[in-house]
């Protein structure tokens, strides 16, 4: 049988491109795998605009603190439900060197600010308008929460809304660790 090489090569290139496209759209489970092995991988850091305040900030600015990093959006119903717990947590851990840091994704600024104001949430938030930052955490839905230790490493993650039980299970140990 005759093989027409240009057509074969073009078809192979197209299949390769398709495979790459599908693979690059998949969610990363790197953090989940590392935590399952008992490791604490370094948390991705990126300067993002502050929500409702001038300038940028990143996780690096919170080095030395335990950070409850919460990915949220104002259009996400489960995010609304967990804000009161996050606010209480923020108030409780602030004197112990902890902070709740929100990352508002794919959201209109006015809606996001209204969302926090309505729930009297005072914890700071950053804006990840195109989801590029939360993608580095393998986020596929909202809300998702990551506990970052004082050295900027991911110590625990939750791919669902947070619960008091989950926070109580991890936060006291992390707050007790030295910087």
């Amino acid at each position: 049988m005759r093989v027409f090489w240009p057509v074969t090569l073009a078809a192979a290139a197209l299949v390769g491109l398709l495979a790459y496209g599908v693979a690059s759209k998949g969610a990363s489970t790197t953090l989940d795998d590392a935590l399952a092995r008992g490791q604490r991988p370094a948390a991705p850091e990126k300067a993002l605009p502050r929500l409702g305040a001038p300038g940028d900030a990143s996780l690096a600015d919170y080095r030395g603190k335990v950070v409850v990093l919460n990915m949220w959006a104002s259009w996400c119903p489960p995010c609304r439900a967990e804000v009161p717990l996050l606010q209480k947590t923020h108030e409780a851990i602030a004197p112990k060197g902890g902070v709740v840091l929100g990352v508002d994704t794919q959201d209109a600024t006015a809606n996001a600010l209204g969302f926090l104001r309505k729930r009297r949430a005072t914890f700071p938030s950053l804006r990840d308008r195109d989801r590029s930052y939360v993608h580095e955490f393998g986020v596929t839905g909202y809300p998702e929460t990551f506990l970052i230790d004082r050295r900027g490493r991911v110590a625990a993650l939750r791919r669902f809304p947070v619960t008091r039980q989950w926070l109580d299970q991890h936060l006291p140990k992390l707050l007790a660790e030295p910087a």
């Binding site: 790459y20 794919q106 600024t109 195109d130």
Partner: protein, 145 residues
């Protein structure tokens, strides 16, 4: 003369308004994605789609044109809000590959046509020599048997 000048002036003043028609939600919905669902906004009804629609309506009410509204959407939701593929990273492939396929297809057709035209026609089967009188008689005899 004055009437003519007034008419020309009116046309000149009206021209910018005619060049930038008023934006409408259905027109913009076709070119915008629901950022969370990954489907065109026109066919999405999720909470984020509703929020995007409300945002567009506010921008229309503020008197912005389509280009300005799309720019504002990108400012709020990122480049992924536009239905056009991104012009960087893997998104480049979506712009390049179709054009490349058209060029390769045209080259393939041209190549095939050239080969087809260049072929010499197959020689016709040689006509057998006529039968000798003896063979013709025998054939006739066999056929009438």
């Amino acid at each position: 003369m004055r009437v003519l000048a007034a008419l020309v002036l009116a046309l000149v003043l009206a021209a910018p308004a005619a060049a930038t028609p008023r934006a409408s939600l259905p027109d913009i919905e076709d070119e915008v994605m629901c950022v969370e669902c990954g489907t065109p906004l026109a066919v999405s009804d999720s909470p984020v789609a509703q929020q995007e629609r409300a945002f567009i309506r506010r921008e229309i009410a503020a008197g912005k044109d389509k280009r300005q509204i799309k720019a504002a959407l990108v400012q709020q939701y990122g480049e992924g809000v536009l239905s056009d593929p991104k012009r960087h990273g893997f998104g480049n492939a979506l712009w390049i590959v179709p054009g490349l396929l058209v060029v390769l297809g045209a080259a393939g057709v041209a190549f095939a046509l050239r080969r087809w035209r260049g072929r010499t026609p197959a020689p016709e089967a040689a006509v057998p020599p006529p039968l000798s009188p003896e063979d013709a008689r025998r054939l006739e005899a066999d056929l009438t048997r």
